[in-house]
Symmetry: C2
Subunit: 225 residues, 2 copies
DNA sequence: AGCTTATTTACCCGTTTGGGTTATGCTTTA
DNA sequence: TAAAGCATAACCCAAACGGGTAAATAAGCT
């Protein structure tokens, strides 16, 4: 008989943490070393050499993927499963590229989750059934995905216009003045941009856009203020 | 006898605006069409076809240079004088590149200012005496300036490290976690970065850095959250 | 005539930023 | 030894931002 599977849960939402912790603790074969939303606490838990990390994707201030990348860069290579609410293929892609061994959805049935985790621990690579469809679409090149360039096509003309100003470092208020529209409208556009590009801050949007734009146009320097 | 010089003052600080307005109004040969800190009001003033704009550099939300660029792009080519507190050679450089006909300092003696404005209106290109030194230094290549690449040399190693994370879209809190230092320390570093690069927002810093970095390293995609 | 999408505006709320200031160790340089 | 620079940290405050929600108008498609 194999040893119990030692898992550590990382989620900044206390409820999910506790829920899954309960669930796994009551299942045969699991040893929940700890459940935390704090990186520092996570580090101490890692000393107990878990077999598997179960990580939430959307966390503040550091999302699951960045967290994993950081741990990897520090030498912690413990396999990880992403457990998240997001059914976005973009998130899935990012997670896979970050090397997770599983991508599970929080709305899966409890036993499905447990089963999936068990399979990952056994070495399988498990993706939530709902997501496999999206994976196939991605691979089939339905939307070649990958290239963020394509993401920009999702934006409307106006949104691209705003993204451009945003990428020049202009504040929402400044953009409003420039385009002669209200501050609230700009905010709304920015919200849409962030949603469509699946980003969470204007800085990321600006950087992404800048990279894609290429340094083709190096005209005006960024000005103070 | 020539007509009076029709000037429009643009400054978001009411005091300076009024002060200069008073000053010029009491001088022979000036016709102050208006003094405003609002862009909309400025537009209506422009209908009176001023001969000269006197613009402050540091204004919120749109700085003087951006403002000028915007006006230029709309077809208003009225000559402009920059009147500012900043004795930074970087600001001077930006202003000159933006095509201002004069760069004056707010701490110049009143009659000097008036005189300088008169000369600009007459077609001269006037730079505050204090600043000419800096101009010469710039030209002499003391710091070849220009290339923002050089600006980064002003940053310490730590600051560059933080700028890099900042340019990945990480929040101050996330950077703090990543580097295992306090949130306040990160803020302090960011402040220094913005000061040294003469920028006013992390977005500008991120974009600048991204452009300089070149898209050489396209590894990790920006992740949600 | 309905339906969808794009654009616009507004309000509320909590978090993040930017700026000012102060201060303590540590290293390097004058 | 003194001065200067760096990394660290803390506190305060006002402004900006991100997210949720709602809604009005216009244009286009079915």
């Amino acid at each position: 008989m194999t040893d119990k599977i030692k898992v550590v849960l990382v989620d900044d939402q206390c409820l999910c943490r506790q829920g899954l912790s309960e669930l796994l603790s009551n299942c045969y074969g699991f040893d929940v070393l700890g459940a935390t939303g704090s990186i520092d606490e996570l580090r101490t838990l890692l000393d107990q050499k878990p077999d598997l990390l179960i990580v939430d994707l959307r966390m503040k201030p550091l999302d699951g993927i960045s967290l994993l990348e950081q741990l990897r860069s520090e030498g912690y290579l413990t396999p990880a499963v992403m457990l998240t609410m997001s059914d976005s293929e973009i998130d899935l892609g990012n997670a896979i590229r970050a090397g997770v061994r599983g991508y599970l959805l929080k709305d899966m049935a409890p036993d499905e989750v447990v089963d999936a985790i068990r399979r990952v621990a056994a070495g399988e690579l498990v993706v939530a059934p709902t997501m496999t469809v999206k994976m196939i679409e991605m691979l089939r090149g339905d939307q070649p995905e990958q290239g963020p360039k394509d993401s920009f096509k999702l934006l409307t003309e106006r949104e691209r216009e705003i993204l451009q100003l945003l990428s020049r470092g202009e504040s929402n208020k400044a953009i409003a003045l420039t385009l002669h529209i209200s501050y609230d409208t700009v905010k709304q556009h920015v919200r849409h941009i962030l949603n469509k590009l699946n980003l969470s801050s204007r800085v990321k949007a600006a950087v992404l856009f800048t990279k894609e734009q290429g340094m083709s146009n190096n005209e005006e320097p960024l000005t103070r203020n």
